[in-house]
Subunit: 184 residues, 2 copies
DNA sequence: TGTACATCAGTGAACGCGCGTTCACTGATGTAC
DNA sequence: TGTACATCAGTGAACGCGCGTTCACTGATGTAC
């Protein structure tokens, strides 16, 4: 049956939100179209009314999730302690334990590296994150802002990836703590 | 037909070598048992003569690949410039372009984080790498060796993961370069 | 040392399963007159 | 304003496919006598 246009747009958004979470939690390969649609409260059929393919949804989900990260940076803007607060929130066990709502770079970048079609949106959004980090935080100097941002981003992503893969709670927490202290 | 015992051991090794490469290149989910066996010059059937399941092979492949990384550290041992050489080799475009023979942490850690059974071997081997980094390289002080090793490892893994996901050669090279300069 | 037989890794067809994707159908909504 | 009809997102069965895994069979090797 036909549905009001606004409901359709709402459902598109719901699929995207669920996909952004499930892709980060389980990876692109392990999150099935049926599961994604279920998370939006629909059966799997109408998926193709919204997206031309699973790969197209992956690309949109990357944009969506990275856009969320970008928006998340706003609240640290023009806070003199913004940088320290951001690093501390990023390198927390809460973030480690919730990949589905966490940093898309830590959760998705490895798979993006294997799928050429996903690199373009990822790269574009990463540039946006980098620019905001440079502008919103207080770095040692204006000249070093870009270098420092790249180094901080790499250290945080690496720490999160390793902390999640490690079985030993003490070591996992140590990785997060050491990298945080190295950055502050 | 029956085969000499040494050939069987050789084939086991061949499957493992191929798996360690293919898992790093394509990810666990995207490397099929059939493909793995083909890379060892066999049909898919006898896989279960060698391994009880694909998951068991994943665990062995992690051990094998991480063991290779560990062995690779030996050549930097007791070279006063060992640390700088290691960081430079790690953060090279050659390494970035060849995940299949590169760092298992950068290639596998995200998926390990999603599969409880794989965390134990990964964690054990990571501890080995960390210990060798502490002992083989010259750090600012003995007391800071562990912190510095953890920070360097995190920065390198993060840089590699991001450099591989990025579409823009200039930015990808910049990430590797900046992190290298930050560590030296 | 020679012969008969048990061993067991490799073969390749087959299994059930879940995947991404397609499609004929439904029926409330929006629109033409 | 009321009526007839076209629209189109959702339904759910079905498609072909490749996956991990199983299995009856093969036949050179190793071993018992």
């Amino acid at each position: 049956m036909r549905y009001p246009a606004e409901e359709t747009a709402e459902k598109h958004e719901k699929i995207l939100t669920g996909a952004a979470r499930l892709f980060r939690d389980k990876g692109f390969a392990n999150a099935s179209v049926g599961e994604l649609m279920k998370s939006a409260g629909l059966t799997h059929g109408p998926f193709y009314n919204h997206f031309p393919s699973k790969e197209a949804l992956m690309a949109e989900a990357i944009e969506f999730a990275m856009g969320g990260s970008l928006a998340g940076l706003e609240k640290y803007r023009s806070d003199p302690d913004g940088k320290a607060k951001y690093f501390t929130a990023y390198l927390s066990t809460a973030h480690r334990n919730n990949p589905g709502t966490g940093c898309p770079m830590a959760a998705m970048a490895v798979e993006v590296g294997r799928e050429a079609m996903l690199k373009e949106p990822f790269t574009r959004q990463l540039k946006g994150v980098l620019e905001k980090m440079m502008r919103y935080f207080r770095w040692r100097s204006k000249r070093s802002a870009r270098s420092e941002s790249i180094r901080a981003m790499s250290a945080m992503v690496g720490a999160m990836v390793l902390a999640r893969a490690v079985d030993d709670e003490a070591l996992s927490a140590e990785i997060l703590r050491e990298v945080r202290q190295g950055l502050l």
